[in-house]
């Protein structure tokens, strides 16, 4: 028991939890923005991959770190636009289109990476984001190392949560996004464009998802690997349900998830000799399923989620 306590009380455990949570925060908020507007975006897994690859490659080509972030966001927006066009004005199945975007974004990213770097045995590395050393705050005992020795992207993720919450609940735009995911005809009857709002939300949400991917290659690691996203996108979709489509709860869910993951990694070093490593690696996926089961009964889905809207039809 005391071992477990030791783990939980170590500052580096909480630092790891926040680090693991960062890509998920981007992903969950991105998925949340899409779904609040009524569009399920299963392109997320591929958009993560595209963001990871595009961001990394931009930096590798000399665009600079923030240039890389911008390129990743643009790549995400591009694939989001494909999904949005297929599902919003054309009204195609959001499930199938999302899977299609994931397959397309993943294979395109891999193909471009392989074509640009055909003969490398070990992946080339970039100078990734460094933990920020914030004067005073970083030096605080416990809190300093846990919270304030993260990279700039982690702080960007936290800012994204705050901005998303503000926009959704405090601005006319957020009101329109919430309304279009609830009843699009309410939006149209008030003179707003259903298609415009939905396409915009999906593109913006997808750009955020891509930042989650970019964090992997530009902060968590400094290189791009095949299969590095490894289901994180799907986990974000599950967490969005768990968070009841609320930004605050989404942050909480991602942090909780990060903490669990950091905990099991540490537990693994303690008891890893008895239990195969794969059991620990399964935990994030099983945990996501458990989270879904937990909230399934009372999940308050946006009413118009998955329902295409055609004008003049109510």
């Amino acid at each position: 028991m005391s071992d477990i306590l030791d783990i939980l009380l170590a500052a580096n455990f909480w630092a790891a939890a926040l680090r693991i949570a960062t890509p998920l925060i981007f992903g969950v908020i991105g998925a949340l923005v899409c779904e609040r507007a009524g569009v399920l975006n299963l392109g997320i897994e591929g958009i993560f991959t595209a963001g990871a690859m595009a961001g990394w490659m931009a930096v590798w080509l000399g665009a600079g770190l923030w240039g890389g972030v911008l390129v990743a966001a643009l790549a995400g927006g591009f694939f989001g636009l494909i999904h949005a066009i297929l599902t919003v004005p054309l009204g195609l199945s959001q499930h199938v289109s999302g899977i299609g975007v994931t397959l397309f974004a993943t294979s395109l990213s891999y193909f471009i990476y392989r074509t640009a770097l055909p003969d490398v045995s070990s992946p080339p590395r970039i100078e990734a984001f460094k933990p920020l050393d914030i004067p005073v705050l970083s030096d605080l005992p416990f809190i300093g190392p846990a919270l304030f020795q993260q990279t700039a992207l982690t702080f960007l993720a936290l800012a994204v949560v705050a901005v998303t919450a503000f926009v959704l609940y405090r601005t006319p735009l957020g009101l329109a996004i919430r309304a279009v995911g609830d009843n699009p005809s309410a939006v149209e009857s008030q003179g707003l464009s259903v298609y415009g709002l939905r396409i915009g939300a999906v593109v913006a949400g997808s750009a955020l998802m891509a930042l989650g991917g970019a964090f992997l290659t530009m902060s968590a690691f400094d290189a791009f690997f095949f299969g590095m996203v490894n289901g994180r996108g799907w986990i974000c979709i599950a967490l969005t349900v768990f968070a009841s489509w609320r930004p605050g709860k989404a942050l909480l869910g991602a942090l909780l998830f990060g903490a669990f993951d950091a905990f099991q990694v540490r537990l693994q070093t303690e008891v890893g000799s008895f239990i195969p490593g794969q059991v620990f690696l399964m935990m994030p996926y099983l945990l996501s399923i458990a989270a879904l089961v937990l909230v399934a009964r009372k999940a308050d889905y946006p009413r118009a989620l998955l329902v295409p809207y055609f004008r003049g039809q109510r």
Binding site: A176, N183, E188, Q190
Partner: protein, 515 residues
């Protein structure tokens, strides 16, 4: 070029509107003027083109021919950009659709504010909006809790929010599509009083209806549409009911009426049936349906009729209480069990629950009996038998379609209802549950539905008729019970009831309170 009739300026001018959907001409060369301060009733039966016309006005549809012009603030008429709800709103047109266009999870205030502030704005001036709405509510008498979620409001309150939406945008023209369809008679009276007040303040109002009485009572002028064409446009004073009915329907359709008949023994008995929570839940509902009678269930929509139909259809099991048919327990029966017990169910939403659109007419006719030996052998379908029976049903029920193999979704609402009637009534059921069976149907199709229900009654079946149309209920039902907030009143003989009493009960006033 402001023209004047009766002295008041024209605020809205529809000129030679034509709209076709494929082979169907929904609006055929329709012109219409609306004056300031006037209440214009647009009368027509279902399918006459009223809603299409209003959807063109509001920019949901684009007319194939013709123009819409609206008076600006200075009174000059300006042509409206077609196909743009945004332009219609900006021109001062407010629309209250029959199916409310409200986001249920948002508050009343949020629904009203939606789209009234620029999307690029970083803040929302809710305090100011509240104050303005407070004034509007006081002036119009349309009070509503602005902080309430729409999902918690009653139908009448939702309608008030819809009207406030238009008033908040300073509408000069207000269009209401079948506004009384979901209201009690008393609520309807209040609504018309409010509309009169708004009109006297200068608002031009169009309301769409197929109910002659309210059109005569509440309008200044009446336009009649039939088969997409305008067949009359005249001041209300001087109109009479018979003349309007003829204009609306064209040919006269013989209306089925029930002949007195001695009811038999009790068939379906619900005793103390209670279901889950929520607005639609049932509370200790007692009901006894007799052989050879039509029992009407009156009520404002959303008061538990849906749940009652679900329980009898075997789609929702009660928490407590019992359901029995001829003394046989059916309380927790599935849909299958109810069908097998001899209960025919005509669902309220025939597109959603009645047919599988992409499947063929024949398959939709066979769907309830697909596991019966006549339709399958060893799990394999008997196509010939299914097709043969479909052919019979298509003839017997006059289902207009391109044969049994046509997808059911291509049929009109009336013919889809005939599919449902054919497959449910053909097996001579003991009990018929008909939920809103004539909703959205034209006069001919409605008469057909009524005739089938009366036939079932005369052959000794018990019929439960759930309807929001009091005229329909009073004409067909032997007895009527009223449902309000999940409580079902005891049924009384129709002869002893009048619209006023039913309306009071639908609004939740019991006799003692009223007295």
């Amino acid at each position: 070029m402001t023209s004047t009739v009766d002295g008041a300026p024209v605020v809205l001018k529809l000129e030679r509107i034509t709209k076709r959907f494929g082979a169907l001409t929904a609006n055929d060369d329709v012109s219409l003027d609306l004056h300031r301060g006037e209440i214009l009733a647009l009368l027509g039966e279902n399918g006459a083109g009223k809603t299409t016309l209003m959807n063109i006005l509001f920019g949901h549809y684009v007319a194939d021919e013709g123009t819409v012009a609206v008076a600006g603030t200075n009174g000059t008429l300006k042509e409206l950009e077609p196909g743009s709800p945004h332009a219609a709103l900006n021109a001062g047109i407010g629309m209250v659709h029959q199916h409310f266009t409200l986001a249920e999870n948002l508050t009343a205030l949020e629904n009203i504010l939606l789209g009234t502030e620029p999307l690029s704005s970083f803040s929302s001036a809710r305090g100011k909006a509240r104050k303005h709405l407070g004034d509007l509510m006081q002036r119009s008498g349309l009070t509503v809790d602005l902080n309430a979620r729409i999902s918690s409001l009653s139908v009448g309150e939702k309608q008030r929010v819809e009207i406030l939406k238009a008033l908040y945008r300073d509408a000069r023209v207000l269009v209401l599509d079948e506004p009384t369809a979901v209201l009690t008679p008393q609520e309807s009276d209040t609504l018309f009083a409010t509309l009169k007040k708004l009109a006297s303040d200068g608002l031009g109002i169009i309301f769409i209806s197929h109910k002659l009485d309210e059109v005569l009572a509440a309008s200044d002028r009446i336009g009649v549409l039939r088969g997409g064409r305008k067949v009359a446009d005249q001041p209300t004073a001087g109109c009479d009911k018979r003349q309007l009915a003829e204009l609306m329907v064209g040919k006269s359709v013989p209306e089925s009426t029930r002949t007195p008949q001695q009811p038999g023994a009790a068939l379906l008995v619900l005793s103390q049936v209670t279901t889950g929570t929520g607005r639609d839940a049932l509370h200790a509902v007692d009901l006894e349906l007799l052989s050879g009678e039509i029992l009407g269930i009156a009520g404002v929509s959303g008061n538990g009729q849906g749940t009652l139909a679900k329980v009898i259809s075997g789609l929702e099991a009660p928490i407590s209480g019992t359901v029995s048919l001829n003394g046989k327990q059916l309380t927790r029966s599935s849909a299958r069990g109810m069908i097998d017990a001899g209960i025919a169910r005509i669902p309220e939403d025939r597109h959603r629950d009645g047919i599988v659109g992409p499947m063929s007419v024949a398959e939709n006719l066979a769907i309830e009996t697909i596991r019966k030996p006549e339709n399958q052998r060893f799990g394999f379908l008997r196509f010939d038998a299914i097709a043969a029976r479909a052919k019979e049903a298509i003839t017997a029920y006059d289902i207009r379609c391109q044969g049994g193999n046509a997808p059911a979704r291509l049929l009109s609402g009336g013919n889809i209802q005939k599919i449902v009637l054919a497959r449910t009534l053909d097996s001579d059921p003991i009990v018929v549950l008909a939920a809103q069976p004539s909703r959205g149907l034209d006069v001919g199709a409605t008469a057909d539905v009524h005739r089938r229900l009366l036939e079932a009654r005369s052959r000794g079946a018990g019929v439960i008729l759930i309807s929001e149309d009091l005229d329909e209920l009073m004409r067909l039902s032997d007895r009527i019970a009223v449902i309000h907030r999940g409580h079902l009143s005891s049924a009384e003989r129709t002869e002893n009831l009048d619209r006023g009493t039913l309306g009071m009960r639908m609004a939740g006033h019991s006799e003692e309170q009223a007295a």
